[in-house]
Amino acid sequence: MSFLKLDGISKKFKDVEVVKELSLDLEKGELVSFLGPSGCGKTTTLNMIAGFLEIDSGDILVEGNSIGHLPPNKRNMGMVFQSYALFPHMTVFENVAYGLKLRKVKKAEIKKRVEEALKLTQLIGFEQRYPKELSGGQQQRVSIARAIVIQPKVLLLDEPLSNLDAKLRKQMREDIVQIQKSIGITTIFVTHDQEEALAISDRIAVMNKGKIEQIGSPFEIYNHPKTDFVSEFIGEVNEFKGKVMRRTEDFCTVDIHGLEFAIPNEFATGTEISFFVRPENIRITKEKPLSQPSLISKVERKMFLGSKTRYTLFIKGQKVIADVPSNEKDAVDLGKGSEAYIYWKNDELLNIRG
């Protein structure tokens, strides 16, 4: 039995279906991200799980118990908001203690648990400070402490890191995963930042237009995207098109930009096919590779991005983006206007379709 079950939940806003019969099972202790562009329904779904929005149809179950009809203050969930939403008139201690006070926990017990939560979020010493005296990162940690101290069944995070600067974001997401794993709480993390989702999730639910396009581990999502949307949304892709010239048992020979490539698939001759290749899988060489077909291209731009160097190349009018580790000597020598050969490995092709 799954720990948290979303059973075909839907939500309509003025005749527009924002979430369409969404179903998902979460295991206890796992961290699932809802990832998608704005408007895909991820925040709406989260708000339905929290209880801020009524579910039009379907149900939500926690450990087998239906909670879809309960108001937010009866669901025993913890939530962390993008704007932190700390109570400005209360100290850090009082903020974190608030949920416990509502549950009529005894004073001594409150003190103990608040201290534990603050320790976990590295906020010992901040008890008497007020939110306005804290930095963004500190406020977010108070927010987390406040959510987990009540020992909720589920932890919901609504784009918690979006208001922080890049470096802090990276640091905080590590902290969040660490906290989450140490208390083993089932967590849903809403974000539009794919790098974030890939970095911290046990599984990612990629959402688009109210539906989950694909759910899987970060590795699966990235390397085996099932739909066009997922391939294009996660990471970047180059799209190649060609026509099948002839066929053998396992391969078809495809004409791409005048050159013939063997593609592992079984399309009939004459079919127009297309596929994606990620920039980091495009290989560039100055000399023509001997063992496989390659395309001649012209270097249009070279951008040094730190650990990788990004080349923008043109083949017969098509723009191709290739990422090369900056310490590979061969490729680094190429400047604007020079010619290069590009090729790929067959097992790195994505979404081959005709």
Partner: protein
């Protein structure tokens, strides 16, 4: 203590609220009920009743009668002595507004440039008189302006005049008192406009070669027009409606509309007539506001820089 005439309450997006529609509807009604009850019963209704009364006839011995008439309004419009009072009221309004404007602008200009701590202190001193009863403030001027008052003593002792000047119960004393009362409002209004002027506009004009004078008249002044305008409208409206100050500093000698209303209601007891005068006053107030909004919507919000 009147304030800005237009109010905007922006609607707050109710993000994600649970609860069914019915209990939500109930919520706001309960919140508004007390105010609405109070206002409808003790403000709206009395105003309506008063308005109706202004159309009733009045008999010295019986009092307010049951007949309809527009005589009260007609009487006012046709009687030159009453029209004189109306004109006097308006005139005092205009003069007060202009004097206020001239006095307040340089002050507001200076205020805007002050460092924060000083600004806050000065604003405190400028606005505090507003919180002190108008009776006290007007009376204070009364003490100064009397025939045996400080100002006259000064003038006579310095040899500027031989006999004391009659300063009290004149239009001068009323205008002086009114300017004192409404001055802070003008300052606030102009200040609001001035503060909204982007500093870089002034700098831009200076880089283009404008001297300080030019920058002021070409940039600052035009851009502060909305504040000047709004302040003037408010000050005019307040002055025309004012009772306390004209009554104390002008008395029966310098009767204004509000005093006339008071007289009719308490001395003559001709309530219908008093009501009519009162509503003519209301009419002036409302017209001022309407004209103001019309002009505002016709002209552009900002002023283009030449």
């Amino acid at each position: 203590m009147k304030q800005n005439l237009t109010v905007e309450i922006p609607s707050q997006p109710t993000l994600v609220r649970t609860k069914k529609q019915t209990s939500k509807k109930l919520g706001f009604v309960v919140l508004l009920l007390p105010v609405l009850f109070l206002f409808l019963l003790f403000f709206f209704a009395p105003m309506i009743v008063l308005f109706i009364t202004s159309f009733r006839t009045f008999n010295q011995s019986i009092g307010v009668e049951n007949q309809w008439t527009i005589h009260n309004y007609a009487q006012f419009i046709s009687d030159s002595s009453y029209l004189l009072i109306l004109w006097r009221t308006l005139r005092i309004g205009f003069i007060t507004t202009i004097i206020c404007l001239i006095l307040a602008y340089p002050f507001a200009y200076q205020l805007v440039k002050m460092p924060d701590k000083l600004k806050r202190l000065v604003i405190l001193f400028v606005l505090s008189p507003l919180l002190i009863s108008m009776v006290i403030r007007s009376y204070g001027w009364g003490i100064l302006l009397g025939n045996n008052g400080f100002i006259n003593h000064l003038l006579v002792n310095l040899g500027i005049t031989r006999t004391p000047l009659t300063l009290m119960y004149t239009e001068f004393s009323v205008i002086l008192g009114m300017v004192h009362v409404v001055f802070p409002y003008m300052v606030l209004s102009i200040m609001g406009s001035l503060e909204r002027i982007d500093d870089s506009l002034i700098r831009a004009s200076k880089i283009l070669g404008a001297g300080s004078m030019r920058a002021f008249f070409g940039v600052t002044l035009p851009l502060s027009l909305p504040g000047i305008f709004a302040g003037s409208v408010m000050v005019f409206s307040l002055t025309v409606s004012s009772f306390v100050t004209p009554s104390i500093l002008g008395g029966a000698k310098v009767k204004v509309m509000s005093y006339l209303t008071y007289e009719q209601f308490t001395n003559t007891l001709n309530w219908p007539y008093g009501a009519a005068i009162g509503f003519i006053l209301v009419f002036i107030s409302v017209i001022t506001l309407v004209v103001y909004s019309r002009i505002l919507s016709f002209s552009k919000k900002g002023v283009t820089i030449q």
